[in-house]
C-alpha cells in the first residue's frame, strides 16, 4: 500500500519533533511533581477546601448515627498499635506529679477535678466499636469508661462553649473538638480496654475515645478537658491533618 507520510507528520500544526519535545518536557514536569507536596501556591486553596469541608462534615453530623461493628469482625487485642509523641511511653509518675486527676474546666459553671475513682463512680459504659485511623486501618476494641455527655452535665457547660480541648501529659499533645462530636453518645472518657484497666501503651490512666473521630483526635493520657468558645487546633491538626477529623 502506498502512503504519503506528509499527511501524518503534521497534526494540528505541530510536527513530530515539536510534539516529542513538548511530550518530553511535560513528562519530566509530571515526574518532578510526583511524591512532591505540589505547588506552594496551592497551600492556600487546600486550607480553604479544608475549612469548607468542615462545614459539610458538621452538616452531615447526626447524634443518632452510631458506629456498628461488622458481625464478622475480630477484636484487634494486642494488634492494636500504640502511638504517643513522647520518646518513651508516657507514664504518670505519682511520686513526682502527685495523684492523677482529670481537670474539667473552661466555660463551665462547676469546674471539677476528678480522680480515677471519681470517674469510675460515674455511670459506666462499655462499647465495642471501630477505631478509624487516619492512615486507613481500623481496629475493633471494647472501651470502658464514662460518657463524655455525663461529665458535661456534671460540669454544667455554659451555652457559650462550642468547642472542647482534650489535653494530655504526652508532651504537649492535645486536640480540640467541636462540642457536638464530644456530646455524641459513643464519646467516652475511657479508663478500660478489653475488660482490663487501660495500660500506659494505650493512654492510661484515661483517654477520650470515640468512633466518630479519627484516632489522632482521641487524646490519650488525659489531663484536662477545657470547654472553649473557639477551636484550639491540636497537635496533628496544626501539622496539617484535618482539624475536624470526623468519621
Amino acid at each position: 500500500m502506498k502512503f504519503d507520510p506528509k499527511e501524518f507528520v503534521s497534526i494540528g500544526g505541530i510536527d513530530r519533533r515539536e510534539f516529542l519535545a513538548w511530550g518530553g518536557i511535560m513528562s519530566a514536569a509530571l515526574l518532578a511533581a510526583c511524591n512532591s507536596r505540589g505547588p506552594k501556591s496551592a497551600e492556600k486553596l487546600l486550607r480553604y477546601a479544608e475549612r469548607k469541608n468542615r462545614v459539610v462534615e458538621r452538616a452531615l453530623f447526626r447524634h443518632t448515627s452510631m458506629d456498628a461493628v461488622r458481625p464478622s469482625a475480630y477484636d484487634a487485642r494486642n494488634k492494636l498499635p500504640s502511638y504517643f509523641i513522647s520518646r518513651t511511653v508516657p507514664v504518670w509518675d505519682e511520686s513526682v506529679r502527685g495523684k492523677w486527676a482529670l481537670e474539667v474546666s473552661g466555660l463551665v459553671a462547676n469546674p471539677m477535678r476528678l480522680t480515677l475513682e471519681d470517674l469510675q463512680r460515674l455511670p459506666r459504659v462499655s462499647e465495642r466499636v471501630n477505631h478509624y485511623c487516619v492512615e486507613g486501618w481500623t481496629a475493633v476494641e471494647t472501651w470502658t469508661g464514662c460518657r463524655f455527655s455525663d461529665l458535661a452535665k456534671l460540669a454544667r457547660v455554659s451555652p457559650e462553649a462550642h468547642y472542647v480541648d482534650f489535653q494530655s501529659f504526652d508532651d504537649d499533645y492535645h486536640e480540640s473538638w467541636d462540642l457536638e462530636s464530644a456530646m455524641h453518645g459513643q464519646t467516652v472518657v475511657a479508663y478500660g480496654l478489653d475488660g482490663k484497666m487501660l495500660e500506659p501503651a494505650h493512654g492510661a490512666p484515661a483517654r477520650v475515645y470515640s468512633p466518630v473521630k479519627l484516632g489522632y483526635k482521641n487524646t490519650k493520657y488525659l489531663t484536662k478537658i477545657v470547654f472553649m468558645p473557639k477551636m484550639n487546633g491540636g497537635y496533628w491538626s496544626d501539622m496539617g491533618y484535618e482539624w475536624y477529623g470526623g468519621t
Binding site: M1, F8, M66, A76, W137, T247
Partner: protein, 219 residues
Amino acid sequence: MVGSGLRIFNAYPAFARRGELFCCYPFEHKPIPAWLTFGGWLGGARNWHFAMMWVLVVNGLVYLAFVYLHGEWRDLVPRKGDIRDSWQMVKFYAFKRKDHPHQGKHNALQKAAYFLLPVAGAFAVATGIAIWKPVQLSLLTDLFGGYVWARYWHFVAMLVIVILSVIHVFMVFAVDPYSIPAMITGNYDERNSPEARNARPFYHLFPRRQSAQSPPEAT
C-alpha cells in the same frame, strides 16, 4: 486523585482490619512505589484528595449533563449486539479477522470503555464517600460491605479507571492519532478513521490514498 490516593494508601498499604488477614489483595503491606504517589506525606495527600474530590465530582456532573443534553449518550449506552461486536473487534485486533468491523461513532470495545469509565468514576466517588464518613453515612458504607471492603472497592475503582485510561491513551496514539487535533478543534476527517484505514495498533497508521478506495467527495 490517583497519586494522592496512593500516598494515603501507603500510610497503611493493606486492607486487613488490625488483628485480621485480608483475602483478596496479594500485596498486603507492600507500599506503592513513591514515584507514583503525590502529596509528599499523609496529611498533604489527604488535603489534596479532599480538595480535588470536589473538582472530580463537579467535572463528572458537567460531563454527564453535557453528554445527556447533547444526546451523545446515545453513542455510549450499551445496546443489543455490543458483545458480539466487541468480539469481532477482538478478532480483528488479533488478526483473526481481515477487515475492520463496521462501527458507529465508536467501535464496540471503545464504546464499552467509554461507558465503563463514568460508571467506575461514580463508583469511586460513592466508595470514597463511604470511607470518608463510615459512621455518619454508615448505610452507604454497609452497602459496600463495611469500611474494609468499601476501602477495597475504592482501590479497585481506581485500578479500573487507571487501566481504562492507559489503554485509551495508548490506543489514541497507536490506532487513531488523527483524533488528537479533533479533540480540541473538532472536524474529524472520517477518511482517516481507523475503520477507513483498516487500522490495528501501529498498523495502517497512514491514510489510504484517496484514489485507492474512497469515492471523491461531492462538491
